[in-house]
């Protein structure tokens, strides 16, 4: 436990010190919320007579989990692996599970701060009411963060070099964020995009967030979406168990 806390502190320091990564994973969803919220936050979604801002807010938290727990985590793990840092850590008495747990915990805390920031900005700038189902929201964030982190760790096994990691991971996560409807509702997408959206975990996580945050649903009334997100998480975890490496490619 003491070791976990020791490593968690180091991981937090490392995350916030790495300015590029902190901007890319933490700040970008916040900035997108500010920009798009200003552009179309006040337009209405005709079908339900709801303002767009709350939808966008939930969508940007969905985008946040993809950028923080999935893309950001995967890139930093590949960079650490290829620079030999993971190999070195593996050579110390620190149990590998403690290291992985500290990294996951640190990622979750970053995502939690990000989600809170987006909620506060929504309240202050775009008059979005604070979410009522706080406990449901919290557990949704935990499950989403865990599933996307598992997917991110699983993906690292398929990325060969630190140089290529941003390219490969962005290639996966940016289209996913767009197709899953974190920015716009996928309802009006052409059929083939909707077909892709229908299998992506982020589609279900965003839907889950919107139902919990905007429509005040309980988490347990969203078991279908939750199951899809968790299933993807399990797939990611299996890939991580079989493909995760501590050593760089060439040694």
């Amino acid at each position: 436990m003491k070791l976990l806390l020791h490593e968690f502190r180091a991981q937090q320091l490392l995350f916030w010190r790495n300015r590029e990564a902190a901007f890319f994973t933490f700040l970008l969803p916040v900035i997108f919320f500010l920009v798009f919220g200003s552009i179309y936050g006040n337009s209405t979604i005709t079908k339900e007579h709801l303002r767009a801002a709350p939808f966008l807010q939930a969508g940007m938290i969905g985008y946040g989990v993809a950028s923080t727990a999935f893309a950001g985590l995967a890139i930093s793990v590949v960079v650490r692996r290829e620079s030999g840092v993971l190999k070195r850590v593996r050579g110390t008495p620190l149990p590998p599970a403690v290291y992985v747990l500290a990294v996951l915990l640190s990622t979750f805390v970053v995502f939690l701060i990000e989600a809170t920031t987006i909620i506060v900005i929504g309240r202050v700038l775009f008059s979005v009411p604070l979410p009522d189902r706080l406990l449901s929201l919290f557990f949704a964030l935990v499950i989403g963060s865990a599933s996307f982190a598992a997917l991110g760790l699983g993906l690292t096994g398929f990325v060969r070099s630190a140089e290529g990691s941003s390219a490969v991971i962005n290639f996966v996560y940016l289209p996913m964020a767009l197709i899953s409807g974190t920015f716009f509702t996928p309802r009006d997408y052409p059929g083939f995009l909707r077909a892709i959206a229908d299998v992506l975990p982020l589609t279900y996580f965003t839907k889950l967030l919107r139902n919990v945050m905007v429509r005040d649903h309980h988490l347990w009334s969203e078991l279908g979406s939750l199951a899809v997100v968790a299933l993807w998480g399990v797939i990611g975890a299996i890939a991580a168990v079989y493909r995760f490496r501590w050593q760089p490619r060439d040694g």
């Binding site: 070791l3 180091a10 490392l14 030999g84 840092v85 190999k87 070195r88 110390t92 008495p93 040694g251």
Partner: protein, 279 residues
């Protein structure tokens, strides 16, 4: 009991036999040099001893344990410097040392380690801002902060400028004074000669010679005698230089000739090495 025991160690990568049954032992407090050209199998050997690679055959013991199955109690006792620098670029020297010190049950004081590796003035500098030599010293510091009894140094000075190499040598000499058992790999002869108590020459997966640097250069290897006859240079190798030189000079005196450019050379470690590792 020896600190490190290697017997009949075999390792292949596909059809490439990286290690063809090598063996050596290292005693407590000894600095042992594994010398060889690139691709000889040095890093493979060290990584098997560190527990990073699985061997195909033979026995390996480090501190009485098999590195392949040894646990965290064993890792408390063993420190590594990997072949390439592996640091968190955004942590300072003292933050890095403190982080790694926290992984060990009985670490050295990080402030003491900072002095030991000569980075006092850089203690608050981020690792990314350090020079190549300073990074290697921090690598060594991270290996030392757990206060290990055995240290593996895989080419600790490759790529350093001469000044930084000298500084690294001083640090390794300091390790001997601390009573550490050190396995050092290098492809620099002078480094092995300067630092190691005993040297094994590894080439193409086999140990071709082993002994103290003095043993390697003395004894078995022949002395070289060179001289010139007209425009031709004559090179002779002999294991009895005194007798051969006496014969040569005697004959020359009888003929009333001078042996032009006469030279008698005892082989340096470099000659021995080049001879041993020659294709």
């Amino acid at each position: 009991m020896s600190t490190i025991v290697v017997r009949d160690l075999v390792k292949s990568y596909g059809s490439n036999e990286a290690l063809r049954g090598i063996g050596f032992t290292i005693e407590a407090g000894e600095v042992f040099g594994l010398l060889g050209p690139n691709g000889a199998g040095k890093t493979t050997t060290v990584e098997i001893l560190e527990g990073y690679r699985k061997r195909d055959g033979g026995t390996v013991e480090v501190l009485g344990a098999d590195p392949q199955t040894a646990g965290s109690a064993w890792r408390e006792q063993v420190g590594f410097v990997l072949q390439s620098s592996s640091l968190y670029p955004n942590l300072s020297v003292s933050e890095s040392l403190r982080l790694f010190a926290g992984y060990y049950a009985a670490p050295r004081d990080p402030d003491e380690v900072v002095e030991l590796i000569g980075l006092d003035e850089k203690r608050d500098a981020r690792a990314r801002t350090l020079s190549g030599g300073q990074k290697r010293r921090l690598d060594l510091g991270l290996a030392l902060v757990g206060d290990p009894t055995v240290l593996f140094l895989d080419e600790p000075t490759t790529g350093l400028d001469p000044g930084a190499r000298r500084a690294a040598w001083d640090t390794v000499r300091g390790l001997r004074a601390l009573g550490k058992t050190v396995l050092l790999t290098t492809h620099y002869l002078d480094e092995a000669e300067q630092l190691a108590d005993r040297v094994a020459v590894l080439t193409r997966g086999e140990i071709v010679s082993e002994g103290t640097p003095a043993e390697l250069t003395g004894g078995a290897v022949e002395t070289e005698i060179r001289y010139r006859v007209g425009s031709d240079e004559v090179v002779e190798r002999t294991s009895e230089p005194t007798r051969r030189l006496h014969e040569l000079t005697g004959e020359a005196l009888e003929r009333g000739e001078e042996l032009d450019a006469l030279e008698v050379r005892r082989p340096t470690l470099e000659d021995v090495y080049l001879e041993l590792t020659d294709e």
